[in-house]
């Protein structure tokens, strides 16, 4: 079906990007054979990795692969969680470490135009130094701009301002035939034909290769306040959230987590989670243009929380404290990653989230599997870790028969997601590992339409084959 990468292809790739930007050594290729998904069964080595310096080089690489029917997979920093950047059919992996430039920060249009290899950790400070703000915050700041667009990443700060999709205004894309096209631009409004840009966002590198992006920015909120609210149990904590929304308050972020996981992450980062009370916590970020406005919001939220059995309401009112809290919340995954099998991304309507999490906890008790669950309470996006080890009395202990439990529990949780009218991925994408669930969450007609779109863009199926659907 596909052709192999032979010496003449390597030679041509070397002509395009230069010898130092071609990787063929088996040991070096290991890094490109997986993403953050933990199990080896989806791993696959590319035959070669190339690191182009500009879009013209990307175009030449794609044309070469298309003409020779060689599979081609684009890769950011490999921080994905479902195998979306794993080169399942081998072939060429293209990476963007030589394309990390900030091309322009346009204060008049409130946009930043950047190359797709730019990491978020370099993006945030660059725009903040110009007095601008980019709300989405997918947990891992080593992710690239191209990667977060390709997966339509979300993160904690999505409740009020939205996910990556809501901030991309234009992208430069190399199509599977090698042509370079620009979708969108620096527009706030755009009704000019179908939005191919939005089709590209979240397409996991199956329709085109994003090489450049124009991203909408905003003035930073003048006042931000982070509240940490302890509860005796997770159910009460999560049940508060619809009550807050009912008050017509939309915070920037509402996260729920168990204190145990926050403490674990804090220890990992050498930072202290600010609250020792209670078993479950909400972390709520509110913003506004004046301190009084933010205080009023905080007060109303506080009343709702206390009416729903909150033990107290604590405040982080300085940037460094707010950063500590967000870092600890974002670091939970990192603290768990060596001891887990998979992190799920099921998303339910926010009114269902307390019931869904209760049901997840019932599965945990019944199966004997540790399923620490936390996530974005106000957008319904729940992250359950399927753990191979359990944290007990300061030690990691391997869970008995985890192999058998894993598949059963995984299926049960997805069934619950369906029962509570959810979807199987809110922000991580489908990649390889959730393909089996796509069918149960979407009608066959939808998947057929997706197949048709894929075929129109990529008739030779060279771009990231084996992802999202077969």
């Amino acid at each position: 079906m596909y052709n192999k990468v032979d010496a003449s292809i390597i030679e041509k790739l070397t002509e395009i990007v230069g010898k130092s930007n071609v990787v063929t050594d088996r040991e070096d290729l290991l890094d490109y054979s997986h993403d953050e998904y933990s199990l080896d069964d989806i791993a696959a080595y590319p035959d070669v990795v190339v690191k182009p310096q500009d879009v013209e080089a990307v175009s030449k690489i794609v044309k070469l692969c298309n003409a020779n029917k060689i599979p081609l997979t684009a890769r950011g920093s490999g921080t994905g969680l479902c195998g979306a950047c794993v080169p399942s059919f081998g072939g060429v992996v293209i990476t963007f470490e030589n394309m990390q430039h900030i091309i322009e920060i346009d204060a008049q249009n409130l946009t930043a135009t950047v190359e797709s290899g730019l990491m978020l950790m370099d993006f945030y400070p660059a725009i903040e130094q110009k007095g601008l703000f980019f709300p989405p915050h997918p947990g891992d700041e080593s992710a690239t701009v191209g990667g977060v667009i390709a997966t339509n990443a979300g993160g904690a700060r999505a409740v009020k301002y939205g996910v990556i999709r809501n901030f991309v205004t234009g992208i430069e894309v190399v199509l599977p035939n090698g042509e370079i096209v620009n979708f969108g631009g620096k527009f706030v409004k755009n009704s000019t034909g179908y939005s191919l840009m939005h089709l590209m966002i979240g397409s996991e590198g199956t329709l085109g290769i994003i090489t450049k992006a124009t991203i909408a920015l905003m003035a930073p909120p003048k006042e931000i306040m982070t509240l940490v609210v302890p509860y005796e149990n997770l159910h009460d904590a999560i049940s508060t959230v619809p009550a807050i929304i009912e008050k017509k308050i939309l915070p920037m972020a509402v996260e729920f987590l168990e204190r145990e996981t926050a403490v674990l992450s804090g220890e990992h980062l050498n930072k202290t989670w600010p609250c020792a009370q209670g078993k479950a916590h909400l972390m709520i970020i509110v913003d506004g243009s004046r301190e009084e406005e933010v205080m009023n919001l905080a007060e109303t939220i506080s009343e709702v929380c206390l009416a729903n059995n909150a033990l107290d309401v604590f405040i982080a009112d300085t940037k460094s404290k707010q950063k500590d809290i967000l870092d600890i919340r974002s670091g939970i995954y990192e603290a768990m990653r060596n001891y887990m099998l998979e992190i799920l991304d099921i998303t339910v309507p926010r009114s269902q989230i307390a019931h869904f999490v209760d049901a997840v906890n019932e599965v945990a008790v019944k199966s004997g599997m540790w399923l620490p669950t936390y996530g974005h309470a106000a957008d319904g996006n729940v992250h359950t870790h399927l753990m191979r080890y359990q944290w007990q009395d300061g030690k990691w202990i391997e869970i008995e028969n985890w192999e058998e439990k894993y598949q059963t529990v995984r299926k049960e949780l997805h069934d619950l997601g369906k029962k509570y009218k959810g979807i199987c991925s809110g922000e991580h994408g489908i990649g390889i590992v959730k393909k089996e669930y796509l069918k149960s969450f979407l009608e066959p007609e939808q998947i057929e339409l997706m197949r048709g779109i894929k075929k129109t863009f990529d008739p030779n199926t060279i771009l990231n084959p084996g992802k999202i659907f077969d």
């Binding site: 903040e128 130094q129 007095g131 509240l227 940490v228 202290t272 600010p274 609250c275 205080m295 905080a298 007060e299 506080s302 107290d312 309401v313 604590f314 405040i315 982080a316 009112d317 300085t318 940037k319 460094s320 404290k321 707010q322 950063k323």
Partner: protein
């Protein structure tokens, strides 16, 4: 028992600091000033004594009206009363600051004065020991554990050789090191109460400033880390780089 904590305002570590045109000061606009993080340990220790031994707690802060926010943060955490020693301009001279505060502190009749081991903006670690000298009180610096009894304190401080255990009679001065406690975050109720707190303002004259800031510059940009390799094979190259490029060995 009366516990006084001395707190200071410093730029938030998450703020971008710019040096002004004179090259002798920072641009204050857009800088958020917060309570010096080491002073938060001092406040927490005072609050523990307030809760466990019914101590009266007072926070004192040198500064302009802008420093009221820091004192309100102390109230939000739970401190009972607050005093600002009014000075219009920032003082970089440790001795001048110490003399300025000593005037106010002398009249306060406290058992314990606790402050952070240093302010993170100038990082001099002078204020505690200098106040000890000016007030003729014992000062135990860099304390990581504090036990207070009637008329005396026992404090632990980490030194290069191990842990020193020091006793002193009260009144005395303690400077707080990281590890002394975990400072609490203010509760929303505390924050609301702090808005209404009465801040006593004491006028004080700044004496003869002996230290002059002659210039400020940014630290050199940090270079990017390079991974030389993994395991034993990488060692020769690492040694070569350390010797020839970093000139560290």
């Amino acid at each position: 028992m009366k516990v006084v904590v001395c707190v200071r305002e410093v730029p938030d570590t998450e703020t971008y600091i710019k040096i002004d045109a004179s090259q002798k000061n920072i641009v204050d606009a857009n800088v958020t000033f917060v309570m010096n993080p080491y002073d938060e340990y001092a406040v927490e220790e005072a609050l523990k004594l307030q809760e466990s031994a019914g101590a009266e707690t007072v926070a004192v802060c040198p500064g302009s009206a802008r420093a009221d926010d820091v004192l309100r943060s102390a109230v939000a955490m739970g401190v009972q009363s607050v005093i600002r020693v009014n000075v219009a301009e920032p003082i970089w001279d440790g001795l001048t600051t110490a003399k300025l505060l000593a005037g106010t502190l002398k009249e306060m009749d406290f058992d314990l004065l606790i402050l952070g081991k240093e302010a993170i903006d100038d990082g001099t670690q002078q204020l505690g020991p200098m106040l000890g000298e000016l007030l003729d009180l014992p000062c135990i610096s860099l304390v990581t554990k504090l036990d207070v009894a009637d008329g005396s304190v026992t404090a632990e401080r980490e030194s290069g050789e191990g842990v020193e255990v020091i006793e002193a009679s009260t009144p005395c001065i303690i400077t707080a090191q990281k590890g002394l406690n975990e400072p609490r975050y203010p509760s929303l109720r505390g924050k609301m109460a702090a808005k209404k707190a009465i801040i006593e303002v004491k006028e004080a004259s700044v004496g003869n400033v002996q230290l002059e800031v002659t210039g400020m510059e940014y630290p050199p940009a940090r270079g990017k880390a390079t991974v030389v390799g993994e395991g034993v094979e990488a060692v020769p190259e690492l040694v070569r780089l350390l010797r020839e490029e970093a000139k560290a060995i």
